[in-house]
Amino acid sequence: MDTLTINKSAIKVNEEGYFTDPSQWNEDIAVEMAKQQNIDLSEKHFEVLHFLRNKYAEEVPLTIRKVGKSGIVDIKEFYKLFPGGPLKISSKIAGIPKPVSCV
């Protein structure tokens, strides 16, 4: 377990930088996390981040398709917001664990 200091808060993260305690997250911290990925967070970004956090809290397994069906963004827009690996990157910025596969 590592600690990441953002805005003077000591965030507990795993070896890959994912939050181990999602309750430590807030929007200001997200802005700083996003900067490290060269992303300027817009309102759309935040809508996605809150969607991910809500689903995580409901224990719904997350997939790219599910975000694409959220009504917030389609899959293409999701890739544009978080280039590279949208689900991995957005989950990290949303302060939730890396989504894992079931099978």
């Binding site: 069906k69 899959i75 293409k76 689900l87 099978v103």
Partner: protein, 430 residues
């Protein structure tokens, strides 16, 4: 008379029918099973058809052949379930009522979900092998194919039998080697996962095997469309892979009936939200869901269905007798992985324990190697066809424990644990 209705007469439905027939009092209960036709496919056999190992006729039988005497069988399609009124509406307009409903409507590849997949090249240079038609047509294609770029692509992460695409790649390698044209075939395995498989230790073993067999893995590729003119697949973030022959594992979806009944999960894949331990429907307590139709976080595979069946029969009997549902499913899955040249690997896992190396003890058949290629595993895979028709469908218990056992397994050492964290072996979807 009370009514128990089973929707779907595939692996799960037929197995439950046979189990219930033995347990329910016929003076009290009437059991009805519904399917759209009378053709039962041995789906694990589809994998072998493209390579001529099985002929199409080897995998087809009548559904009725596996029903107990006196079964009430309706051939019709289910339009929808009305869970509030305990009614099932059929396409013909007939309305059936039930006291207990079992949904076993499975999953089907839906190539039309992806733009261009069913374009001009469909069944010319683009094939699936998870359907009888696709596997049979691909067999003809491979017979005369002279080589080129073979691309195996998974359109989505949730698919039926998640090891079958790997097996296809291994068998293709063996097939072209034996034909003497392996040097003319480039095999690309293009997947939305971060590696060859989902779970870290199995992914490591399978990745090494892919490398050894000169099968190139393209990870993190999430298919957006198929370009029929330029013969390439294109991902959402603009990656492109060219093909001469595309073997697609299309998006898998549950039955249309699920969407009509407003029972689909949130990603619109028509899998039914189901209690992962009791197999009870999340909204309706007298509806149970089994097999590929559920949204359970485990493999969609026959072995899973078999283990679920052992749990579900207990829970249905408890439900009928007004007792709490005490049997709990642990997500147990057990899969042979054909690796070509007469060998196979075997994996055994559940919701919480990933596939581990070691020995898998099966009474009578003997120990089988876990996560390693052996001939006896291959013999086990072939023997499974007989077991499927004669034991699994007829609801008999198999000599394998329902809950996953750690007997014979080697838990990972510290170093191996550490390797788990390396990006190549992540347990990540995308």
């Amino acid at each position: 008379m009370k009514k128990l209705l089973i929707l779907g007469a595939g692996t799960a439905g037929t197995m439950m029918l046979n189990k219930l027939d033995k347990k329910l009092d016929k003076k009290e209960w009437e059991i009805t099973i519904i399917d759209k036709d009378d053709t039962h496919y041995y789906q694990p056999g589809f994998l072998f058809i493209p390579f001529g190992i099985y002929k199409p006729k080897d995998v087809v039988k009548s559904r009725k052949e596996f029903f107990p005497a006196g079964t009430h069988f309706i051939i019709d399609e289910v339009d929808k379930i009305n869970g509030d009124d305990n009614k099932v509406i059929l396409k013909s307009g007939e309305v059936l009522t039930y006291d207990v409903l079992i949904v076993a409507t499975g999953t089907t590849p839906v190539p039309s979900e992806t733009e261009g997949l069913m374009g001009p090249l469909w069944y010319k240079d683009i094939f699936d092998f998870y359907t009888f038609e696709g596997a049979s047509l691909l067999a003809k294609k491979l017979e005369n194919w002279k080589g080129g770029k073979l691309v195996i692509n998974l359109a989505e992460t949730t698919i039926k039998c998640p090891v079958a695409p790997l097996e296809f790649a291994f068998l293709a390698d063996a097939y072209f080697t034996e034909k003497g044209i392996r040097d003319k075939v480039e095999i690309n395995y293009v997947t939305p996962l971060s590696g060859a498989f989902t779970k870290p230790i199995a992914t490591k073993m399978l990745s090494q095997l892919m490398e050894k067999k000169n099968i190139h893995v393209v990870p993190d590729f999430y298919l957006e469309h198929v370009d029929n003119d330029l013969k390439k697949i294109v991902s959402y973030d603009g990656m492109e892979v060219e093909f001469d022959l595309l073997v697609s594992i299309p998006t898998n979806m549950g039955a249309d009936m699920v969407a009509n009944s407003n029972m689909s999960d949130e990603d619109d894949l028509n899998f039914i939200p189901t209690n992962k331990e009791t197999l009870q429907h999340k909204q309706h307590e007298n509806i149970f869901v089994i097999g590929d139709a559920t949204n359970l976080p485990t493999s969609k595979a026959g072995s899973v269905t078999h283990f679920e069946g052992e749990i579900l029969i207990e829970n249905i009997l408890s439900f009928i007798n007004g007792k709490p549902l005490e049997a709990k499913f642990d997500g147990h899955a057990n899969c042979f992985i054909e690796t070509g040249f007469g060998k196979a690997a075997l994996i055994d896992f559940n919701y919480t324990t990933e596939p581990l190396p070691g020995q898998f003890p099966i009474p009578v058949l003997g120990p089988m190697g876990l996560l390693k290629e052996t001939r006896i595993n291959h013999m086990g895979k072939l023997a499974f066809k007989w077991i499927y028709w004669h034991m699994l469908l007829t609801g008999k218990s198999l000599p394998v424990s329902t809950n996953m056992s750690m007997t014979g397994k080697k838990a990972p050492k510290k170093e191996e644990n550490k390797e788990k964290e390396e990006p190549q072996q992540e347990e990540v979807l995308l």
